[in-house]
């Protein structure tokens, strides 16, 4: 069950895993996520499905090493099995022909953006995509994104690839240049916050796909709760996509850091134990 059939490094810390999961591959739609747990004593973490191949019965996840659990997953190899994998979870992305869509992905957020860009393109939208990262090595899935984008803009913070600058600067240019009907942003919370502020200025409806802390992923625990338009929502069952202009990103940023100190220590312990092996 859940055997890894392909593994590819996008960069030192970003890995693409193709995993056998025939039922999920068949059932999933753009925007859905899975919960993954590695090892008997592992933690349950949510990851958005980047793509799926129903014929082959596989799903693809893109994992960035940011803590113990993502490291455990990224350290698995072809032939290994993911202990627990469940999904697809969350609400699927609402897809229709909106007109012109500005899609923005930051860092590893480009992976969950890919199926959405693909679906939007197939629904007849004009898709302008901005993908952004700190540096060239961290730009992922460029070719795949390009395939479904009418225009692709790449930005890096250090200017090592594409345009030098922040994702919001590239977005501004597009928003000034043409009428955009919808924007979709996926990336680190801080990037989504500023991307959302940018589209708000132009009154362009915007969806953000949120990746919060979860335990069960099925609505049971409420660890993932956020405030949207003044109301508490659960990212796992109400989301993961929300009207970005209504999301309280500052609260979300605080909540994401809830376990930071414990996580840092755990990560150090994990790296240390790996060194000893």
């Amino acid at each position: 069950m859940n055997k890894i059939v392909e593994k590819e490094f996008f960069s030192e810390n970003v890995v693409r895993l193709e995993i056998e999961a025939p039922r999920i591959a068949k059932a999933r739609r753009a925007g859905h996520f899975v919960i993954v747990k590695v090892g008997e004593k592992g933690e349950r973490i949510p990851l958005t499905i980047a793509s799926a191949n129903p014929e082959k019965g596989t799903i693809t996840l893109v994992v960035q090493r940011v803590g113990v659990s993502s490291r455990r997953l990224a350290d698995l190899n072809v032939g290994d099995e993911v202990t627990d994998l469940v999904g697809p979870l969350g609400q699927a992305t609402h897809i229709e022909n909106f007109g012109t869509v500005l899609a923005c992905g930051g860092g590893v957020g480009v992976a969950p953006l890919l199926p959405i860009v693909e679906a939007l393109k197939k629904a007849g939208n004009k898709v302008v995509t901005v993908i952004a990262a700190r540096t060239k090595d961290l730009i992922i899935l460029e070719d795949q994104i390009r395939e479904y984008s009418d225009e692709l803009i790449i930005t890096t913070d250090d200017g090592s690839y594409g345009e030098k600058g922040l994702v919001t600067e590239a977005m501004e240019k597009v928003l000034q240049r043409e009428k955009v009907d919808l924007s979709v942003v996926i990336g680190p919370a801080i990037m989504m916050k500023f991307a959302s502020l940018t589209t708000k200025k132009y009154e362009v409806p915007t969806y953000a796909s949120l990746n919060t802390i979860m335990v069960d992923g099925t609505g049971m625990c409420g660890a993932c709760r956020i405030t949207v338009g003044g109301k508490t929502k659960f990212v796992c069952v109400d989301g993961p996509e929300f009207d970005a202009h209504q999301v309280d990103f500052d609260e979300m940023l605080l909540r994401l850091n809830g376990y930071k100190e414990i996580e840092k220590e755990a990560e150090q312990n994990y790296l240390h134990s790996k060194d000893k092996q």
């Binding site: 039922r23 004593k41 933690e43 069960d216 659960f234 809830g258 996580e263």
Partner: protein, 494 residues
């Protein structure tokens, strides 16, 4: 599915029962005092997850079993949602045939060792005991005896597997592996059905695993009972969310003809007061799941837990007691129950409240939180509470708590566990638009048959009741199994 009085009478007239009854006069039996369950000392037990109740010794069980009068009209059975033949199993114990006693339990209950621990017997069978009703004395300790028989069988490694009928080849699916689902699965397997239980989490057992703490119900006891179901031919699929991983339609195509939805009351409620989303404020579901299912308190697991020195648990139910007692065991200096009514209205079991008090839990009753405050990192540091007084009775029949103006004061806290109830999990209803639900999100079923608006789907437990007990869920599982059996037999024979 009521057991017939004739059947009970017949069983009661069997010679071994008559003999046992003849051993003592009723007067001698009623003169005996109810046994007290041994408990681990509070000072010792809060240092670990050791089970609080020690169980009965053989001698204690024999003594308690003698108290039972083996009444001609055993009213106790009417108080049991799964209709355990109570006098029969107790008389087996009195006869010293503990394994036979366990077999009696398993005739109608898939989870005797669980029920013997977590059932509110004082509200069920024991409230209907002849001693309670007629003699105004303490009832026979039916729950303790149930636990004794089930434990004896397990601890001596002599677990019997209930007989199952010849396979009828009919596939039925159970959605959720909590007490309702497991009971249903056991009953259907006994009747020859090909049963698969689908569970969303990675562990089988539902609330018995993620909810009820180790010190009240050790996980290995649940696992042993699940193992018996496996031996009866029940299949389990974990990490499988019906409605998501596969739809009901998919499963029908795979040959499933009947569905029992027992997906529980998954969604935790919050109070929607300012500051409730600060770090360190969490639902009891999250708190208990991290500890019980993910074993977050163990240093070799990856799941983290925040459990501080000043822990406030909001609510007065069993889940609140489980949470606050867990906090104490995780090293809280102050572990507090904040409850808006008085001790009298508290819904938790008397035993849980007593155990909590012994363990040094502070009870702040007629008190309700109104706001939380946090430090610069967004971590909760203080809560503002308000004193309450009791007004007129509300819809639940309990006196409604009314805030007292100007009574607010602050308490230092670093962890707050909100345990004010749960709503039904929306995953199944959302995936089946044709399924009729109430405005609270519970599934509408026929009261007796537990059949939903989709004829081949039956439902029970908290997804129907909105939040009840293990034993009521099990009763639903049992009733639904009987009704589905009838439905499927009619379908196949017509």
């Amino acid at each position: 599915m009521a057991v017939s009085k004739e059947f009970l009478k017949e069983e009661r007239e069997q010679s071994w029962r008559v003999d046992i009854r003849g051993l003592m006069k009723n007067k001698e039996r009623t003169a005996l005092e109810r046994i007290h369950m041994g408990e681990v000392d509070p000072k010792e037990r809060i240092l670990s997850n050791i089970e609080v109740n020690k169980g009965l010794t053989q001698e204690e069980a024999l003594g308690e079993a003698r108290r039972c009068l083996d009444c001609p009209d055993p009213t106790c059975i009417t108080g049991c949602p799964v209709e355990i033949n109570i006098p029969k199993f107790i008389k087996r114990i009195e006869k010293g045939e503990f394994l036979e006693a366990a077999k009696v339990l398993k005739e109608t209950s898939a989870l005797p060792a669980v029920c013997g621990r977590v059932c509110p017997q004082e509200k069920q069978c024991e409230s209907k005991c002849f001693y309670t009703v007629k003699l105004k004395k303490e009832p026979v300790a039916i729950g303790y005896l149930e636990r004794f028989a089930a434990d004896y069988e397990r601890e001596t490694n002599q677990m019997s597997v209930p007989e199952v009928a010849k396979s009828n080849g009919i596939k039925v699916a159970v959605i959720g592996s909590g007490p309702a689902g497991l009971t249903f699965a056991g009953d259907m397997a006994k009747q020859g059905y090909d049963v698969t239980v689908f569970e969303a989490l990675h562990e089988i057992g539902g609330v018995l695993k993620y909810g009820i703490p180790e010190f009240r119900l050790p996980n290995n006891i649940v696992d042993v009972e699940i193992d018996i179901l496996r031996k009866m031919g029940v299949k389990f699929e974990n990490n499988f969310i019906v409605g998501r991983t596969a739809t009901i339609e998919d499963l029908k195509e795979e040959g499933f003809e009947g569905f029992f939805t027992a997906s529980g009351a998954g969604l935790p409620r919050f109070m929607n007061i300012p500051g409730e989303n600060y770090i360190g404020v969490l639902s009891s579901n999250e708190y208990l799941t991290r500890i019980n299912l993910m074993h977050a308190a163990s240093p070799d697991t990856d799941t983290p837990i925040l459990s501080g020195k000043n822990v406030a648990v909001i609510g007065g139910g069993n889940t609140a007691m489980d949470s606050v007692r867990t906090a104490k065991r995780l090293g809280a200096d102050r572990a507090m129950i904040i409850y808006r009514r008085s001790m009298e209205e508290m819904p938790a079991r008397v035993e849980e409240i007593k155990h909590a008090q012994e363990e040094g839990i502070e009870f702040m009753t007629l008190t309700n939180p109104v706001e939380y405050f946090a430090d610069e990192k967004g971590k909760v540091s203080r809560m503002r509470v308000q004193k309450m007084e009791l007004g007129e009775p509300d819809a639940s029949g309990r006196r409604r708590p009314v805030p007292m103006e100007g009574s607010e004061y602050d308490i230092d806290v670093d962890t707050v566990v909100v345990s004010v109830g749960v709503s039904p999990n929306p995953l199944i209803p959302n995936s089946l638009p044709q399924l009729e639900t109430t405005r609270w999100g519970t599934i509408v079923v026929d009261e007796e048959k537990l059949q939903s608006s989709i004829p081949e789907m039956f439902a029970g437990g908290d997804i129907v009741r909105g939040g009840a007990t293990v034993i009521l869920a099990m009763g639903d599982g049992r009733n639904a199994a009987a009704a589905m059996h009838q439905y499927l037999q009619e379908k196949h024979n017509s």
